[in-house]
């Protein structure tokens, strides 16, 4: 249990008598101090808004809306300070002696370690993943409410305002609080292990990244309590609807800042870690494709995310400070530009969909290579196509605006770039297919989700290419065809890869094996009812049913009922996953270090890994997918106490049914 750190006695100065008249529990970083600081943060918000309004002669000086908005910044930030996320930096900035890092708080021994500021990437990875799945279930519950409302024509149990709020929060939670962070979480756990590093480059920043996330989610959820209801202008929050809504809209604008900073800090961390901390011998072209995928995603995140932050700052300024960025009716020469919101928003939000997909591509590469027992076909083109998607992803944003009324000529280059981006994506699909070809396929749960992904994402990609064609997009824009496309690529695409990754790395992360039969049941129910839910939406969309509507024309009634029933079963099927994960984590069979007989470095250490990952830094001597080459290894460990023989690729031998042809 003791960590192998230097044995020299740590010199401690006698602790100076503190002048803070608080009991020790409130002086030490932790939840009690965080609660106290939250109160201080709220007081700060009241004080500063009152002061500024008094100086500006705005009466009443105490304004509920102003206090709400400022508290949404100050309370979470004070909470983080109280929790201890900024302790080291604040001490350092104040010139005080910083507490020496003895790594005793690194790692997790009890469940309590998961509820504090912990710098171990493995703990942070699990914190991220569990938090994200919590928001998956909340967002999924909101989806169930949507489908209840839409099961029959006419209004059901939600008012129109509430319904608009429900689908807005549904999308926002699933995008910013589930898909984006869960990939960050899985990569947080796996990536340093995969490159032979003891942790991420910036462990403290990593901890801060995590803690920003639940704060953003709580802000989003609290919008339901705001006067006027939750934010209800879609996750896209177009101005001027969003700038003229009740204060609940501000919960989106501000919550997104927290989620955005979480994302940006993590991406920075990944970039530095990947560039500087790879084990000796791991050149870029010996990195596993998961590392390539997260490298590419991190480039997207750091460049694009500031744009959504700024779009929401503009909305905040218009709504709270009376500015006119998006106000078309101020007066000649002073008008704002309504369409500018969409350009700024989509300049992030299109790369965002690649942020939500590229890590999934990395996961699929890992799973398919190991489960088909073959190298990834066309490794170099797989890496280059990731980079191509990063670059091209910034050139297509206005395909979300074909009917927006923007200058018509912009549509043409956007159609071209949107079609071009299908080429590197297609290369990846075909390469995965070629990897399956002549492999030895182990059809367990992770592999089933990977194969399901190939099918679903192809369909989503096909509907995407159709949408690139402007006349077709004009017809189906803002109809259920778009809803179908979105869910095929985000559910059939991203979520399937997330499930594949969670099942695949579950033994490594928890030291236990999941129940594969339950996993397969989860897969088949999900696959079947996903298609029954979202397949028909292509049809009713082309038929003309708009999206984001609380009720619809009678002719769509039958399909909507069918979709709703399928959706309820789809929702229930996630409970199988939840049961499997929880019960396996608590009492499943212990997992071996390398149950999948994989070559990548994370599988060469115990399950779960030692607290600092590697007893000695491994040396990488070959590619990560050298299956089929007898005796090939990816990395070697020169630890003299190791009694585990290196895992090599198995012999490649064909059963009689497959004869050599080449």
């Amino acid at each position: 249990m003791a960590t192998a750190v230097s044995e020299a006695p740590v010199v401690t100065r006698p602790r100076p008598r503190t002048r803070v008249p608080l009991p020790p529990r409130l002086r030490a970083p932790g939840w009690y101090r965080a609660a106290l600081f939250e109160v201080l943060g709220f007081g700060f918000a009241v004080g500063i808004t009152a002061l500024i309004r008094w100086l500006q002669h705005q009466h009443p000086v105490i304004s509920g809306e102003a206090i709400t908005v400022v508290s949404m910044f100050s309370v979470p930030i004070f909470f983080l300070i109280g929790l201890g996320a900024f302790d080291y930096w604040l001490y350092w900035a104040a010139g005080r002696p910083t507490r020496p890092e003895d790594h005793s708080s690194h790692g997790a021994l009890t469940w309590r370690d998961y509820f504090r500021v912990n710098t171990d990437h493995k703990v942070i990875g699990i914190q991220y993943t569990v938090t994200s799945f919590f928001f998956l279930f909340v967002g999924g519950l909101l989806a169930m409410m949507i489908r209840v409302q839409l099961a029959k024509p006419g209004m059901q149990f939600l008012t129109p305002e509430q319904y608009n709020g429900v689908f807005s929060v549904h999308a926002t939670l699933l995008i910013f609080l589930f898909v984006i962070p869960v990939f960050a979480g899985l990569a947080n756990f796996v990536l340093p292990l995969m490159i032979g590093a003891p942790d991420m480059a910036f462990p403290r920043l990593n901890a801060l990244s995590f803690w920003l996330l639940p704060l953003g989610g709580i802000i989003m959820l609290m919008s339901f309590l705001a006067p006027g209801g939750s934010f209800a202008s879609g996750w896209t929050a177009y101005a001027p609807l969003s700038t003229t809504m009740p204060v609940g809209q501000m919960f989106f604008s501000i919550g997104v800042q927290f989620a955005g900073f979480s994302s940006i800090f993590t991406a920075l961390n990944f970039l530095v870690t990947i560039i500087t901390m790879r084990a000796p011998g791991m050149s870029f072209f010996r990195m596993p494709l998961l590392v390539w995928a997260n490298f590419s995603t991190s480039l997207l995140v750091v460049i694009a995310t500031p744009f959504i932050a700024s779009s929401q700052v503009f909305v905040l300024f218009d709504r709270m400070l009376g500015m006119h960025f998006f106000d078309a009716f101020v007066g000649a020469g002073k008008n704002g530009n309504v369409l500018m919101y969409q350009h700024v928003f989509w300049f992030y939000s299109h790369p965002a969909v690649y942020i939500m997909m590229l890590p999934g591509f990395g996961i699929i590469s890992e799973v398919i290579a190991v489960k088909a027992r073959k190298p990834i076909f066309g490794y170099r083109m797989m890496a280059f196509s990731l980079l191509a998607i990063v670059v091209l992803g910034f050139t297509v944003w206005a395909h979300h605006m074909f009917v927006s009324g923007m200058q018509p000529w912009i549509r043409i280059p956007m159609m071209i770039t949107t079609a071009i981006i299908a080429v590197p994506t297609g290369i990846k699909i075909f390469s995965w297919l070629a990897t399956l070809w002549r492999g030895v396929l182990h059809l367990d749960t992770p592999m089933l989700f990977a194969l399901g992904f190939l099918t679903m994402f192809t369909l989503g990609g096909i509907s995407g290419v159709m949408l690139a064609m402007i006349p077709f997009d004009i017809h189906v824009s803002q109809t259920y065809f778009i809803v179908a496309h979105i869910h095929y690529v985000l559910f059939g695409g991203s979520l399937f890869t997330i499930f594949a990754g969670v099942y695949y790395w579950f033994p490594k992360m928890t030291g236990r094996m999941f129940d594969d039969r339950l996993g397969k049941l989860h897969f088949w129910l999900t696959f079947i009812f996903f298609n029954l839910t979202f397949g028909p939406m292509h049809l009713i969309g082309i038929q003309g049913m708009p999206r984001r509507v609380a009720e619809y024309a009678d002719k769509f009634a039958a399909w909507n009922l069918f979709i709703s029933i399928s959706a309820f079963i789809l929702g229930l099927s996630t409970l199988i996953f939840l049961y499997n994960i929880v019960s396996s984590w608590r009492g499943g069979p212990r997992a071996a270090a390398n149950p999948w007989r994989a070559l990548t470095l994370e599988w060469q250490v115990s399950s779960p890994p030692p607290i600092f990952n590697f007893d000695a830094v491994p040396t990488v001597v070959g590619g990560p997918y050298e299956y089929g080459v007898p005796g090939a290894v990816h990395g070697i460990f020169k630890s003299p106490t190791s009694d585990r023989p290196p895992v090599t690729a198995g012999t490649f031998g064909r059963p009689p049914s497959q004869e050599a042809h080449e």
């Binding site: 304004s63 809306e65 129109p160 608009n164 177009y238 001027p240 609807l241 003229t244 204060v247 400070l321 009376g322 009716f329 008008n335 309504v338 369409l339 088909a372 027992r373 073959k374 190298p375 076909f377 490794y379 009324g405 043409i412 159609m415 080429v423 297609g426 699909i429 390469s431 070629a434 399956l436 070809w437 002549r438 492999g439 030895v440 396929l441 182990h442 059809l443 099918t455 369909l459 159709m466 064609m469 006349p471 077709f472 004009i474 017809h475 803002q478 109809t479 049809l539 082309i542 038929q543 003309g544 708009p546 984001r548 609380a550 009720e551 619809y552 089929g628 012999t651 059963p655 497959q658």
Partner: protein, 259 residues
């Protein structure tokens, strides 16, 4: 004959798959009734897209299902690996170039459809569409600078129409599924949409941009009348509306906003 030639088996299955799925896909009643020249062009484009898409899906699916059937791990292979095939340059070039060519073809065709659908006609009649929370208002320019205002849209069959679309508050969108044409109504600008109705009938007008709690209910109706009946209708309308402007008399902000 096919037993030991997996590629040939694959191609056969894919061809059969396409032969079944393409007609099925084309038989699905995707679209509402075609009621404009634009819709006619778009429906054809969509069927071409379907015909191009089905083989791709069938190809991917065939490889997946075939691989699962043919290459799944059999007893005795638990510790076996597959052959260490890292790539095949010729194959990779083919599957880069062929999709690119296909996409170039589809883009070019779409471009011609777009040009045809948005062609301006000198004899087009102009109709103003004003959108606000939560209704559409249509106004027809009449001689003398006046407008005939209506909450229901009447159009002549067979004559090109130019819609000038405005919004008085937030972004709305003007969509008639049977026309396959749609354009947003954006406050502060006037957007232009061209449609040539070709079928007498009654069709829904829908708002397709989230505009507030009334968005789902923001609908109207368009009646396409035979040309002479449309002229008669228009002549009989009182022309007492003022020309539409995009700027309302007062633009009230939400309470609580400072300033």
């Amino acid at each position: 004959m096919f037993r030991n030639r997996p590629i040939a088996q694959l191609v056969l299955i894919a061809v059969i798959g396409c032969a079944i799925l393409i007609p099925l896909a084309l038989l699905v009643p995707w679209f509402p009734t075609k009621a404009s020249t634009q819709a006619g062009n778009l429906h054809t484009l969509y069927y071409v897209l379907l015909i191009a898409s089905v083989p791709i899906f069938v190809l991917v699916e065939t490889v997946v299902i075939y691989s699962v059937w043919r290459f799944r791990m059999r007893p005795g292979q638990e510790r076996a690996d597959g052959p260490p095939i890292h790539g095949n340059t010729r194959l990779e070039v083919v599957w880069t170039v062929v999709p690119a060519l296909l996409l170039i073809g589809l883009i070019s065709y779409s471009y011609t459809v777009l040009r045809a659908n948005e062609k301006s006609h000198r004899d087009a009649i102009t109709i103003n569409v004003t959108a606000r929370q939560f209704l559409f208002e249509f106004s027809y320019p009449r001689p003398g600078g006046k407008q005939a205002v209506s909450s229901v849209l009447y159009l002549p069959e067979g004559r090109p129409v130019v819609f000038k679309i405005r919004s008085l508050d937030v972004i709305h969108s003007f969509f008639v599924p049977e026309f396959s044409e749609k354009l947003d109504a954006v406050p502060g600008i006037t957007t232009t949409l061209r449609v040539t109705p070709t079928r007498v009938g009654r069709y829904p007008v829908e708002c397709t941009e989230l505009c507030g709690p009334g968005h789902a209910f923001m609908r109207s109706t368009v009646y396409v009348l035979p040309s002479s009946r449309f002229d008669a209708w228009l002549a009989a309308q009182p022309a007492n509306g003022k020309p539409p402007v995009g700027i309302p008399p007062s633009f009230a902000r939400q309470p609580g906003v400072p300033g």
